[in-house]
Symmetry: C2
Subunit: 384 residues, 2 copies
């Protein structure tokens, strides 16, 4: 198994974009090659993380379109779909292409174009991520989040405000991210007074609907220094599933996919929770940040809410979480989100995170598909 480096990264502005999916992917892909100083002809494999270009835009075959637009023929290409964790699945696929020795240079581009569709059309597509026995009865991802948040607050006697503070923290971080959809602070009061979506969760507990694209460039670790002086390596990576039917889980506050994928990444890397300096977690709903913090071992079960009350996961805490602003303020273009998590960790590790920069040698990204139905966790290490 070859060790794998990341030598370049890019992302478009996230938000409501006028461009279509092909253009968004091409923008991020081109900028990523420029970032690394690599020409299109050097790329052997191109992976495209995208959940639903066919459903949202009537457009299939986007990888073949992108390979053409970037002038990369005869590079191999393929679309990676793992619902809202398509980006993390793309990192896993790109990593395997280098680790196996198949490709010596792999570009990963993730993207989604969603805002041109109505909320009800978008919800139809996203709802079918969940199992038919559940969504045909009207259960959606937000309602799972509401039920789980209620269970968590009750079980651990946690204050409702602790969830609001996740949104407040991530919005504050997003102010310093020029790519974020919302560069705007919010207060605990704003969150708690926003409209109820799925009790006890309110509008500001949820990420928005977003267009955008992000890209990462991978090569064998022993070749990275030919391209750049500062880069990161993938120290560990893992992917795991939980029951697709959420009501079959013994305890919905424990996300088995998070736990198992985290363990795989820790074991491969030799790094453990106490070694992680910065983390990007999948805060599609505020409650998910707590569940990942606990599933990944940053806090004991039921204690993540105390962590945010104590400021542990703030920018100046001992483990900054979602320095990018997270999905909450950065936005969540489904196929791009996991790649954009990788972008943030990579930028933190190479010391290029601007006003968001923290002191970090080892970083982690956790990308959650569905309601924890499939999760990919990646640990990266700085090389300078």
């Amino acid at each position: 198994m070859r060790d794998v480096a990341i030598i370049g990264a890019s992302m478009t502005k996230f938000g409501k974009r006028e461009e279509w999916i092909r253009e968004l992917l091409a923008q991020a892909g081109k900028e990523c090659l420029t970032d690394a100083g690599v020409s299109p002809g050097e790329v052997d494999h191109l992976y495209v993380s995208n959940m639903a270009s066919g459903e949202f835009e009537g457009m299939t075959g986007v990888p073949n379109s992108l390979v053409h637009d970037l002038g990369m023929m005869p590079a191999y290409t393929q679309r990676v779909d793992q619902t809202s964790s398509s980006g993390g699945a793309g990192i896993y696929a790109a990593w395997q292409s280098i680790a196996s020795g198949t490709s010596d240079m792999t570009l990963l581009v993730g993207g989604e174009k969603m805002t041109h569709r109505s909320t009800s059309e978008t919800t139809d597509v996203i709802s079918s991520i969940t199992h038919p026995v559940e969504y045909k009865h009207g259960v959606t991802l937000p309602s799972f989040a509401g039920l789980t948040a209620r269970l968590y607050l009750d079980t651990y006697d946690a204050p409702r405000e602790s969830l609001a503070k996740v949104a407040v923290k991530n919005h504050a971080n997003g102010v310093n991210n020029p790519h974020a959809q919302f560069q705007k602070e919010v207060s605990v009061e704003t969150v708690l007074e926003s409209p109820i979506v799925a009790d006890p969760l309110r509008l500001y507990d949820f990420c928005p609907i977003t267009d955008g694209s992000a890209a990462l460039l991978f090569c064998p670790l022993d070749a990275a220094a030919e391209w750049t002086d500062t880069y990161a390596s993938i120290a560990g990576i893992g992917g795991a599933t939980d029951t697709h039917v959420v009501h079959e889980r013994a305890d919905p506050t424990t996300m088995r996919g998070v736990v198992e994928s985290g363990q795989q990444a820790y074991e491969m890397s030799g790094y453990y929770p106490e070694d992680i300096d910065v983390a990007e977690l999948h805060d599609m709903f505020t409650i998910l940040e707590f569940l990942q913090c606990e599933g990944l071992g940053f806090f004991e079960p039921g204690q993540a809410w105390e962590g945010i009350e104590e400021g542990v996961t703030e920018m100046d805490g001992s483990l900054p979480v979602n320095t990018s602003g997270g999905l909450k303020s950065k936005g969540h273009p489904l196929g791009a989100s996991g790649v954009a998590q990788g972008y943030e960790v990579y930028k933190q590790l190479i010391g290029d995170a601007g006003k968001r920069q923290v002191d970090a040698d080892v970083g982690l990204a956790c990308n959650v598909g569905g309601f924890g139905n499939c999760v990919i966790t990646t640990i990266m290490e700085a090389h300078q």
Copy 2:
């Protein structure tokens, strides 16, 4: 890079099926595990080759559904889409998962459910495989096939009947395949008198619209003997693209994706065209069988038509092509087709192809996405 074995295979009956995509995938997946005597808990990775469950059925997240239905949690899973070559791309992904050392047991299930939609709805989805600059002017995959067939016949002074003989041969082979959509012979006259679709090609020059699923099970080569006495290995594999805009190609009768992916597979395997004993080619249109025969080096450019006239690619010829009946008579459920090609080559190599059995130690499968926009070629070797 670890060597990779295939130790099990299955496929459902192809044709018009009443089951939905989830059920078709589960059928093939379950049968494949049974075929190999492997329990669901042994599987580390599950790849699902599927192009458009969202567009055809409003169903996303099928890998998470399948991992659940097969009882495989916490196995990792992901959907692989490479349009009509999604199955071949799935073989490439599954192979990388074992070759890289990430997974010790990988199940690949490919499937598509299409026949419940109208021909015009299906055509809308498939047409968007091609580049917008072409399909917005009304050019579709069948019209590319017609134009290329005309060019081929004119350039090489080949008789129209030679194309019809591809359909006749593959239908004759399909008679002996209980999984084929059509188990019915056709004559040259039937083909030549069928309705024109894209001149000079007629209805019987095209594969049908099909539902179905197929599966393959992969493990490290050095572990294969623990499971079975007869198995195959992946001796070589490659994937490559051509221009997404077909009219930019210097010579549409040369498919660069076929040539490049074939060269990669030949070089990795150390086998060359003369070593191939049996081949499954992507005969979505009859002309494609000629172009692949030539691109893969079985015949010189412009000579494949003579090969079929001389019977070289018949069951009793020196290189039987599409013993399964090919896409032409077996059917073409997009995500399943490449996996079903692998099924046929595997069955031939382990001597389990029933009435279709030929003498074969080395086999090749070539799966074509779009109009050669991306192609995956796999070479397998028998171990007994």
